[in-house]
């Protein structure tokens, strides 16, 4: 029984079906792990009582032969997804105490299929960050440490709590959102799998909005297969999200055939950036060799506008954020700080309620949308977005998937990269272009660096082709055979 937290979702579903254990036992084991790893600060709100109630209902369903596809599986939910009756903060003071009276579509889908929710996980405030250091509820600590060094490291961001919980065996899987890399970079930093689906595949309804044209909800798990199982549940058309795609959702687990013979794998030359550590370059080469050994054909491709993806993103995302975050005014929900008149009330509420990084982005967004700067910045960035998207369209004429590193570094120490905002923004150099283009991308743990920290490789695919992304991801996963555990997380007996 002590091993339940080390099972994959697929194994746990099998064990539940064979009556090796109950959903209640599985949930209790994870509640125990959640308590033991509390020092990581992965959860903002723990909901053990609710989880046990859901688990008991799950056991009843299974006993009567009515179990759903994820019945009894304990998951962690990024605290950006609105959950009916459970506090949802976006890791911001301005939403502290906010209790939604509705359920986001993605979490409703998971509940429909029988999932158990352990709690709401920590993140960068409004998902704005790459280190989980901007949360009002404190930093998340990466369960991984450098070999022989106790320094606390960041889990990456913005979905830092979700990845820490899954890596520390305090949840079997989790939800995340990815606006510029917020699923894939933290997955890479913690040695787990994270998938950003195609834009429109998973509904944004009920997810606290950051940058609506770039926000992608998606799953985390410890294996590619588990990630596919979660996506099966989370994906689907939702009339409440005007950009949700009315397309059939395939069974993604069927894509994991292992057969990538003849598949053309694009290797973009522009992703060899200055200052990238040698070990990441070497891992990338290894990834090419692994796919080649499985019968795929590497082809060099060019994505000429790659270097402009981050600058374009840092216009578009703040512009959309400044508009989305205008709703936090102290009137309908959230924090209110009084003032002598309505305008003062707004200004005080927002000054007190938002953290420094959020304010910075709101101000940049307001500036680039203001009269006189709109064309020079905002329209320019939208034009760049078209060029970046066309780069991918052209690349996918000569390849079927693209292989790159997930991030240009491994997990760094809390407090590092703080001198200059741009240094932090560079974390997303390999992930951000696929948000602008809307294409699916996965990060798979591929090995440990010299300091004993996990490193990820990324596979990007064509619009709506999560199946190829998952298939290639599973081949990488299999070849890499990543089995290391974070220090301090006891091995399964």
């Amino acid at each position: 029984m002590t091993n339940l937290t080390h099972l994959t979702i697929a194994q746990a579903l099998d064990g539940l079906q064979k009556k090796d254990f109950t959903a209640t036992e599985l949930t209790q084991a994870h509640i125990g792990a959640m308590e033991q790893t509390r020092g990581l600060n992965a959860y903002i709100t723990e909901t053990p009582d609710l989880a046990l109630k859901q688990a008991a209902e799950s056991d009843k369903r299974r006993a009567t032969g009515k179990a759903g596809t994820l019945d009894g599986i304990p998951l962690a939910i990024k605290d950006l997804f609105c959950t009916d009756g459970v506090q949802t903060t976006a890791a911001s003071h301005i939403l502290e105490g906010f209790i939604p009276r509705y359920e986001s579509t993605v979490t409703a889908n998971l509940l429909r299929d029988g999932a158990v929710f352990l709690g709401k996980t920590n993140l960068d405030e409004f998902a704005m960050g790459s280190s989980n250091m901007t949360s009002y509820f404190g930093n998340v600590i990466n369960p991984w440490k450098r070999t022989g060094d106790d320094t606390d490291l960041v889990p990456g961001g913005s979905s830092g709590g979700s990845v820490a919980a899954v890596a520390a065996r305090a949840a079997m899987g989790a939800t995340g959102t990815d606006t510029g890399g917020s699923i894939r970079q933290p997955a890479g930093f913690t040695g787990i799998v994270g998938l950003k689906p195609t834009y429109g595949r998973c509904s944004r309804w009920g997810v606290v909005a950051f940058a609506s044209s770039l926000d992608h909800p998606g799953p985390f798990a410890r294996t590619v297969k588990d990630t596919a199982l979660l996506l099966n549940s989370m994906a689907g058309y939702d009339p409440k999200d005007s950009t949700s795609a009315n397309l059939p959702v395939p069974d993604y687990t069927k894509a994991l055939s292992g057969d990538i013979r003849g598949l053309r794998i694009g290797i973009p030359k522009e992703y060899r950036v200055d200052g990238m550590p040698d070990e990441i370059e070497k891992l990338w080469q290894k990834g090419i060799e692994w796919l080649k050994a499985a019968g795929a054909v590497p082809v060099e491709i060019s994505l000429p506008h790659t270097k402009y993806a981050l600058p374009a993103y840092y216009i578009i995302a703040p512009a959309e954020a400044s508009s989305n975050l205008a709703r936090y005014d102290g009137v309908r929900y959230g924090l209110r700080v009084e003032g002598d008149n309505l305008t003062e009330m707004y200004e005080h509420t927002r000054a007190k309620g938002f953290g420094s990084e959020v304010k910075r982005r709101i101000m940049i967004g307001t500036y680039v949308l203001s009269a006189g700067y709109y064309d020079a910045f905002y329209v320019k960035a939208q034009k760049m977005r078209r060029l970046i998207t066309e780069d991918f369209t052209k690349a996918f004429e000569v390849c079927d998937a693209i292989l790159t590193p997930t991030a240009p570094s491994e997990a760094f120490a809390i407090g590092e990269k703080q001198d200059d905002p741009v240094t932090m923004y560079l974390n997303d150099v390999f992930t951000v272009a696929s948000n602008l283009a809307g294409i699916p991308a996965i990060s798979v743990p591929a090995g440990l660096g010299a300091q004993g920290l996990p490193l990820g490789l990324q596979i990007m695919g064509r619009m709506w082709d999560e199946e190829t992304v998952l298939r290639v991801g599973a081949v990488l996963e299999n070849a890499a055979g990543f089995s290391a555990l974070p220090q301090g997380i006891a091995k399964a007996a």
Binding site: F98, R101, Y102, Y199, S213, P239, S242, T243, S244, A245, N246, H305, K307, Y308, P311, A312, Y314, I315, S322, A326, D329, G330, R332, Y333, L335, R336, E338, G339, N341, L342, T343, E344, M345, E347, H348, R350, A351, F354, K359, I362, M363, I364, T366, Y367, S370, F377, V379, K380, Q382, K383, M384, R385, R386, L387, T389, D420, V422, L436, A437, G438
Partner: protein, 96 residues
Amino acid sequence: MDTNTVRKIAHLARLAVPENELEKRASEIAGILKWIEQMDEVNTDNVEPLANVANIELTLRPDAVTDGDCQDKVLANAPESVQGYYVVPKVVEQES
């Protein structure tokens, strides 16, 4: 980007920024904008702006009520409400 511009943006964004923070904010934002300006290396004169990759036509539905009748839920998180209304500081000045 100077302190006057920051003061103006902050007001447009309804953010109270203390006077002693304006300088720091101005230099941060200036640094980011300078980095962003590298986009000017690329000629985009004949490029159509792209606002959203979702190539999805908005669908129509019958013009009928599909939701509502949940005043309690709508007001549940209001900092202040009275008789089904949100309460805010007075916005219309009385004539004297």
